[in-house]
């Protein structure tokens, strides 16, 4: 007669093995019949590293942030959450002083300007968010864009804590009821995932520039930072360029340009 203790131990062992087999059986590789092709789409934009340059003085003169923000937020089905504290923002305005530390400004001889600058995800070269994500739900594409996989995100918000630029927003509630006007053919997100600016990847595949660039009246430039002939690369060498929190060493892809001979406004 088997003792109760041995019976329990044996059935536990069999149970675990059984569960393990069941679990592993689900790990079959996807059928080989599914092929996907990289059709060389001539219209799609490609780059070594996508980047953005904000021409600060031009922006101050000719850009309307409310237009830029509304275009971006509408196209991406970003909700308007009634509680301001839990707002979802892909692009925001930040006080000039908040963007660059005093030491930085004095060092490069740029006076304080009275302007609010557009800030969004910097798509850093060595993104802190990508390093800390425990599921690789946020990852860096070969073209430099830091993308989000909303299917995989577990909502731990470590990326939000790690991002030095406060670029990320979390869905504290289901966003769908709070979207003013749903843009068809672009998904929303669901509650419990983190989201952020994606440099309008969906537009890049069609050869279109990001919406903030389009709506900026020429004050925000977009292109390949690795290509010395691109608009952005040429803009960078035409004046002084600052990036936010440079001392952290994550090398943002969003640069703020101050042309020579700027005025004290």
């Amino acid at each position: 007669m088997i003792s109760r203790r041995d019976f329990l131990h044996t059935s536990l062992a069999i149970g675990c093995t059984g569960l393990g087999c069941v679990a592993l059986s689900g790990c079959s590789t996807l059928s080989a019949s599914i092929q996907t092709g990289q059709e060389k789409d001539n219209t799609a934009m490609s780059a070594g590293r996508f980047g953005l340059v904000v021409d600060v003085e031009k922006y101050k003169k000719s850009a309307s942030f409310s237009l830029i923000a509304s275009v971006c937020h509408k196209a991406h089905n970003i909700p308007r959450i009634p509680d301001d504290k839990q707002a979802i923002q892909w692009i925001r305005e930040a006080d000039y002083k908040a963007c660059f530390s005093e030491a930085e400004r004095q060092h490069v001889g740029i006076p304080s300007l009275d302007v609010k600058l557009p800030v969004m995800c910097n798509h850093c070269e060595t993104p802190a968010c990508v390093t800390v994500c425990p599921t690789q739900a946020t990852f860096k594409r070969p073209d430099g864009i830091v993308e989000m996989d909303y299917h995989r995100c577990i909502g731990c918000r470590f990326c939000m804590a790690a991002c030095p630029y406060d670029a990320r927003s979390f869905n504290f509630v289901d966003p769908k009821p709070y979207i003013d006007q749903v843009t068809p053919n672009y998904p929303t997100r669901t509650d419990g995932v983190v989201e952020k600016c994606n440099f309008c990847v969906e537009r890049l595949t069609q050869g279109l520039e990001p919406l903030c660039v389009e709506a900026s009246g020429g004050s925000i430039l977009f292109g390949d930072l690795d290509d010395p002939t691109s608009e952005v690369s040429q803009a960078i060498v035409s004046g002084t360029v600052l990036t936010r929190s440079e001392e952290l060493g994550v090398e943002p892809g969003v640069k703020y340009l101050f042309r020579e001979g700027h005025n004290n406004d």
């Binding site: 509680d83 504290k85 839990q86 707002a87 979802i88 923002q89 930040a94 006080d95 002083k97 908040a98 963007c99 660059f100 530390s101 005093e102 030491a103 802190a128 390093t131 800390v132 994500c133 425990p134 599921t135 690789q136 739900a137 995989r152 995100c153 577990i154 909502g155 731990c156 918000r157 470590f158 939000m160 804590a161 790690a162 991002c163 030095p164 630029y165 406060d166 927003s169 979390f170 869905n171 504290f172 509630v173 289901d174 509650d191 419990g192 995932v193 983190v194 929190s245 001392e247 952290l248």
Partner: protein, 405 residues
């Protein structure tokens, strides 16, 4: 042996029933949160990690430190310190479980939690957190249970227990490293300044670990005192004094390095470092934010250290109890409340976002702690039934009379 937890006194059943009721409330509150989203907590876009994660950081440090000290004692003298090491191991089992649960209730998409294992990310410190905590949990369950079984059979613990205990001690060191690493991966931003200087300082790392040991040892003292009073399970005074001295020294180290941090920041005029500290201790923009809690923590820490430092005071049971509570409370206020929340304030626009704690969040937190208390009560019940601790104030403690089961 688990059947020993199924029978007990009236008080025991009443305690379990109370805990189950609290757990029930917690589960109900969590279901509300699961359906309604994390908006049912006080968290916001600026304060994206709130009380759940701050409890996690506090518990992890505290849990593993207590058991490390107990294990080191056990390695020196198995007989004398069996009681305290069992208390420590099962306490850490419950505490790690609580820590894991706090992470779970904090997730936005908890049903996807297995993604962490399906898509392992060794570059992420959180991945290593899960691995080391999970491993430590299993190790402690195993170690505690084997020691207990050996004690019940009246045998020596098997030979593999010693190397495994050493591994568990080393794992505590690793867990501390991972915890510090996780804390340092977070950045907090103030107008134009990041918290890098404050967080990435060596003084911060040492302070983090030192306060963990201080609260871990103090918590173990409290546990020993509670079980002595409620279950007549007495751990030797020698061990309690050792824990008290450890806690005192660790807290002193923690306070010294905090003072050093302040010193470094202000004498070298490190603007962002200063900003972080001022934000914690003074608040910002006219609002005090988290500052009152920091000052209370300092007062408690100072008093606690004093009470533990003076041998005459330390040997007095009542004073020791108060001192241990003060140390735990001071560390909790620092790590579980102020540092975790205060570092998010002010946000990059200079505003202090208030953190109004909804009842739902409190209910979930209480529920999680109640689960921990339930696990620890059940495990301790088994320990008390198996291990006889006859010592009053003598140095011998364990092992003479074993309950016949």
């Amino acid at each position: 042996m688990i059947e020993k937890a199924l029978s007990g006194s009236r008080k025991y059943y009443a305690w379990l029933a109370f805990l189950l009721a609290v757990i029930g409330f917690g589960v109900f509150a969590y279901i509300r949160q699961f359906n309604g989203g994390l908006s049912l907590t006080g968290m916001s876009r600026d304060v994206s990690w709130g009380l759940y994660i701050s409890q996690f950081t506090f518990i992890v440090g505290t849990a593993v430190s207590g058991v490390m000290i107990a294990s080191l004692c056990y390695l020196r003298d198995k007989k004398q310190y069996l009681g305290v090491v069992l208390l420590g191991e099962f306490l850490s089992v419950a505490a790690i479980l609580v820590a894991i649960l706090f992470i779970f209730v904090d997730l936005g998409q908890p049903t996807r939690v297995l993604n962490v294992m399906l898509h392992p990310s060794p570059q992420s410190i959180m991945f290593w957190d899960m691995v080391t905590l999970g491993g430590f949990l299993v190790l402690n369950i195993f170690l505690g249970w084997v020691k207990l079984s050996a004690e019940k059979k009246g045998q020596e613990a098997p030979s593999y227990i010693k190397p495994l205990t050493i591994i568990s001690v080393l794992m505590v060191v690793v867990i501390h490293m991972v915890a510090v690493g996780l804390h340092m991966a977070t950045t907090f931003i103030y107008p134009g300044l990041s918290s890098a200087e404050y967080l990435f300082s060596g003084a911060m790392a040492i302070r983090f670990v030192a306060t963990a040991f201080a609260s871990g040892a103090a918590l173990l003292i409290l546990v020993c005192m509670v079980v002595a009073a409620s279950a007549q399970f007495k751990v030797s005074d020698k061990v309690i004094q050792l824990l008290a001295k450890t806690s005192c020294i660790a807290m002193i180290i923690g306070v010294i390095f905090y003072i050093l941090q302040v010193n470094i920041a202000f004498t070298n005029d490190m603007t962002s470092h200063q900003a972080s500290l001022l934000n914690l201790f003074v608040g910002s923009g006219g609002q005090s934010g988290i500052a009152p809690f920091m000052w209370v923590a300092i007062a408690l820490a100072a008093l606690g250290i004093l009470l533990l430092l003076v041998p005459g005071l330390r040997r007095n049971k009542n004073i020791l109890l108060m001192a241990a509570i003060m140390i735990v409370l001071a560390c909790w206020l620092d790590k579980g409340l102020a540092s975790s929340l205060g570092e998010f304030m002010p946000n990059s626009f200079g505003q202090i976002t208030d953190y109004a704690v909804p009842i739902n969040e409190i209910a979930v937190i209480c529920g999680v702690y109640a689960i921990g208390l339930l696990v620890v009560s059940v495990l301790y019940k088994v320990v008390f039934a198996v291990v006889k601790a006859p010592c009053a104030d003598s140095s011998e403690c364990i092992g003479e009379q074993r309950k016949d089961v």
